[in-house]
Symmetry: C2
Subunit: 680 residues, 2 copies
């Protein structure tokens, strides 16, 4: 594929991208960031840039006036590169960032207020000792500790006089055994000049117990690691604790996938034989590979990683720590723990400094883990009084509703349909996956976009979602999701298990077989979207509110990255709210872990969220089943909840001369008959 040079101004950075890349991808490749509040759907107009010169194609120009277009404006998320180009990024569109100064005087971007290392309950002090002599024969450890205590302003001999009643009878500074074993060698190797790393584990109070976690000759540059353990994907951020910068990041499939794709199958596996140890070893191996990768790339000694902050769903956290998760899947669905408790890296075999504190952030319940508490904080829910709906659709669907003063949460087993699993031609969002489908309402012929641009291999989650919407809007399926086989298109046909729609013919497909979506697939997708929407409904009604009152819908998780909000509303997955209320935040779990790694304030917020969030166990909630059943229609049994879809439906139905389900609606917009209703 041809490569083109895109020069970005005013920075003057030139990058090379293949034909068909989006401008936004070129900008990302250059390491620059653009604000994309709508998540790159071409709706908000905030990513407008000026194409000063070059060959580009505007897929969509919504939100741009004729004057804008004449001036060269284009939406970076909707503009395809077809040749060399020079593009100007208007300054107002750059993400607002706090600039902090690194020791190397290079400006580093940290998108939130963070604590300097000295306030992170982690201190690095350089110590110069007098070597011992026969006359000054203090032991190595005490010699060092005295100097460290003096530097940290600890001590006060009187207060610690061991004889005094009620006084501490242990040392003020702890030296873990692993460090004690090499203390003498380090001191002598450094010729009595060393750097000492001291911490209070798990952010105990400033007056808590401090411990030495490293002693090394020379200067020590401290690193931290943010770690998001997803059921499917594990992500790490390598963070320079001085500058706060993410110096590198990497992600990898969770090695546990080989033992089951969802948390339930992992829990079952963990309960058999040495399953728990096996799953622990698998995720450890994944994490350690990622650590090795980022450390090798940045030439960072992994021994200099002194703190690890972990977010993940409750099952993933149990498995990382080697805690049996069995009770999570059996009623009443109780995890062994939700709270954070300090752990040393060596206890769970992480490939960082063995004494690094591993801080598994606190969760709320068996199915609302620290990925959500961290995500809620990363989403800024703790900073707003606006009624916010936060949703993280990964392998599970978890959501929270509230403001900074109160929050309710729940989890619905949406199933993996939206990840392409349990669907005949489903696949993950990798090369060869169809990621978007448009269906012509005239011909019912599809237009597809394939990741990587080659022949299609299957349908990933975003394609399934847009396809369901298109099939519904074009009347290929009725409001209950049933295929209508009377449309006259060869694309819609009777398959082995009922109706199906052919997205790509065998000769267009990399698989050599028709790529289809079947009646069973549609029903799976309907159940998935119904579960999520029912979750929203139950959360809102649990606090006496209506989904219409929601002021912000913040979508995290890998799924959110590809979610087309228009289509999500059309199928009734998302509530029918103005598009500008939706925000796409990407991986909020790792972002929250990153923030908690660096900021005492952020960690306090995560703890507060974990403490205050009320968990609604849907399986114990009588209203959930009704809400779920009502949501099994397209977009919903009560179409009045979706006025924008209802009006679209009206238009489409009118233009198609009766095709679609309009005939089945009574005056209230409610369907007549049962779930298998529909059809004129």
């Amino acid at each position: 594929m041809a490569e083109h040079k895109v020069t970005l101004l005013p920075q003057g950075v030139t990058v090379s991208v293949p034909t068909g890349a989006l401008l936004v991808e070129a900008i990302e490749r250059a390491g620059l960031d653009l604000n994309q509040p709508c998540g790159g759907q071409g709706r908000c107009g905030r990513c407008a840039v000026v194409v000063e010169e070059g060959a580009v194609r505007r897929r969509s120009a919504i939100r741009l006036s004729q004057a804008d277009l004449a001036a060269g404006y284009a939406l970076a998320c909707q503009t395809v590169v077809e040749g060399d180009a020079r593009v100007f990024l208007p300054p107002q569109e750059q993400i607002e960032r706090r600039l902090v100064t690194d020791k190397s005087a290079r400006p580093v971007e940290v998108p939130f207020a963070y604590d300097p290392v000295a306030e992170q309950s982690l201190r690095i002090v350089e110590i110069h000792l007098d070597p011992p002599t026969l006359a000054d024969n203090l032991d190595d450890e005490r010699r060092l500790l005295k100097a460290v205590e003096a530097r940290l302003g600890m001590g006060g001999a009187a207060a610690q006089r061991p004889g005094a009643r009620g006084s501490r009878l242990g040392p003020a500074l702890r030296v873990p055994l692993l460090l004690r074993r090499r203390l003498g060698a380090e001191l002598r190797e450094g010729e009595w000049n060393v750097s000492v790393v001291v911490e209070t584990d798990a952010w105990s109070s400033p007056r808590g117990l401090w411990r030495l976690i490293d002693v090394a000759a020379g200067e020590v540059r401290p690193y931290g690691l943010a770690l998001d353990i997803g059921t499917t994907t594990v992500t790490v951020y390598l963070v320079d604790l001085r500058s706060g910068e993410v110096v590198d990041q990497a992600a990898e499939y969770n090695g546990q996938i080989a033992r089951g794709e969802d948390v339930i199958s992992r829990i079952v596996y963990a309960g058999k034989g040495d399953g728990l140890e096996d799953l622990g070893a698998l995720v450890r191996s994944t994490v350690n590979k990622l650590i090795e990768r980022v450390c090798a790339r940045r030439k960072v000694d992994a021994q200099r990683i002194y703190r690890v902050t972990v977010s993940g769903n409750t099952t993933m956290t149990h498995l990382l720590l080697g805690v049996p998760p069995g009770s999570i899947r059996l009623s009443p669905y109780i995890p062994a723990f939700n709270q954070a408790q300090p752990v040393n890296a060596f206890e769970i075999g992480l490939g960082v400094n063995p004494l690094a504190g591993v801080d598994c952030l606190p969760g709320v319940a068996s199915y609302v883990g620290s990925d959500i508490t961290a995500g809620v904080v990363a989403a800024g829910m703790m900073d707003t009084e606006e009624l916010t709906l936060f949703i993280d659709v990964g392998t599970n669907g978890e959501m929270a509703l509230g403001t900074r003063d109160w929050m309710v949460s729940c989890a619905c087993s949406a199933g993996p349909a939206f990840e392409g699993a349990g669907v005949v031609c489903g696949m993950r969002a990798t090369v060869g996956a169809i990621e978007e489908v448009w269906v012509s309402s005239e011909t019912l012929e599809p237009t597809v976009r394939v990741i990587g641009g080659g022949p299609a291999r299957g349908l990933c989650g975003s394609a399934l979602l847009s396809l369901l919407a298109e099939l519904f809007v074009t009347g290929v399926v009725d409001r209950s999701g049933k295929f209508k086989l009377d449309g006259g298109s060869s694309r819609v046909r009777m398959g082995e298990h009922g109706g199906e729609y052919v997205v790509a013919w065998a000769d267009e497909a990399a698989t050599g077989r028709d790529i289809v979506i079947t009646q069973v697939d549609v029903e799976n997708l309907l159940r998935a979207k119904a579960a999520i929407y029912a979750g929203f409904s139950v959360l809102a009604s649990s606090v006496g509110l209506d989904l219409k009152d929601v002021q912000r819908v913040l979508i995290g998780g890998s799924f959110g990255k590809y979610l087309n909000i228009e289509k999500a509303i059309q199928i009734g997955l998302m509530p029918d709210l103005p598009w500008e209320r939706f925000g796409f935040l990407g991986n909020t779990s790792i972002k929250g872990a990153y923030m908690a790694l660096l900021s005492r304030e952020a960690r306090a917020q995560v703890l507060l969220v974990a403490e205050k969030m009320t968990y609604v166990e849907l399986s114990a909630d009588n209203t959930f089943y009704d809400a779920f059943t009502a949501a099994l229609f397209l977009p919903h049994t009560e179409i009045a909840r979706f006025p924008s879809v209802a009006s679209l439906w009206d238009e489409a139905n009118a233009s198609r001369g009766g095709r679609g389900a309009r005939g089945a609606l009574n005056g209230k917009g409610e369907p007549v008959g049962t779930h298998d209703g529909g059809g004129a």
Copy 2:
């Protein structure tokens, strides 16, 4: 050998002992205790008992009047059983003990004031929980912790509100990972009724961080372990933490002996290859065997041992913890650590509850370890204003001088001569060892006492000591320790390496060879005693005092158990003080560990001793060599320091008509000539 029944009154206990056993052995066998301030040497008269009936032989009746003897009094330590007997123990001679009431209402003897478990920074609470339900779905850990916090009077939600600035961001109660992994299973096994063991490690202040170390169904009876790791012998006390009672004890040779008999050879070995790991494994194996033995005997689950207090010399402590001891043996003789730092049992592989806190008591210097700090406390030095000399002669000779307000200490490498090593016919104090020797001043024929009563195999430390004194007093050797071959006895002869004395002829010995003490042996013993006495001298002069000012000499260690004080003074090993100033305390190291295990006060004392004790490094002290050289004579170059020996010498010399070294003394009692002087 014939067995005899000895009935002890008023307790009415009858025990069976063989012919020749001492009464004190019968009393010990009955589990009763007698005060023996002189260590069983028949000098103090405190162990006097009344033989109401039976066949006994009084070996010595010093301290008893004719009236006493007529009334049946006998010294238990000097009276041999030769038939059945009935013996009354006068109540005033029983050791003063504090009686405490055990749960089983059986009175238990603990010889010091100790803390109830609740004040030992260790709490055991029984918790009854409501099982979780869908409506009450708190996680296992939080459910338990809330109940434990309530029971311990912790919490106070406001104070711990995570959002508050400066507040603790970690949990109030810590749950170590090892426990977390089995928490859920234990709760369910106990059907939500469990005993929980909570502790603050290393006796942190009462407001310190508490952690759970065990959760178990049913009632939990807590045990502790006092552990003394000697270079030669490892001793354990299994302690019921509720009653304070030592429920069992056991001792065993330190498995490290196979890698070297003294600390220096162990340090050298530890520095080679995997020597450190090997030595760690050996001592661990010894300790674990002892733990298994006492637990099996008392049917105690070793998992119920929740705290271990360890005393030992600095090298032994390093090796137990796996800390390289290399710098201990190289000038300026610096240990890696002296202070106590909390360690979990699992970190060093002890066969007790893996989360038990292992508290290695603090030492002072490379050659004054926690065996001395614990010993000093056990000896009661912290309770007296009297000038006290504490000495622990084991494989090394360590000593401390002072009062409760100040202390100085030092260590002298006496060498292992007094343990029977480095001596031609030396052996440890086991069956077959000659343990005491008397030499007739008329015939120079010896009388010996053999451990176990059979034929002799060699000479143990106490025999060597008494033999050296006898050879000196009878003039077989002169004041410089040289054999005088002109005495006319076949026992004194020229051997391969100079003069020697035959203690047992080959046909009397189990080895079939003459048991002798040679010139080289005598010189080894002289150096050993000179080193120890020189240590005393340097300590005293370092604080401007004279050894005559010493009011108490307290002798700990296994050697002290067999030390004959009269003979120790005769050879100039001990200062010439009235016998009643000497006290024999047995294994003070394990006693101190036992006290620190149970008593916050005792532990505070050990810490205070470790902090306040001034260590005198003899190799850096100019006066030591002079003091050592002066002490290489019998009893000393300045015989005026030993007035009782000088007068004995006068008498003996007079009665022997000039045999002995008197002729070589000038008017001041100082020898004329050099070290090889002597002989008339």
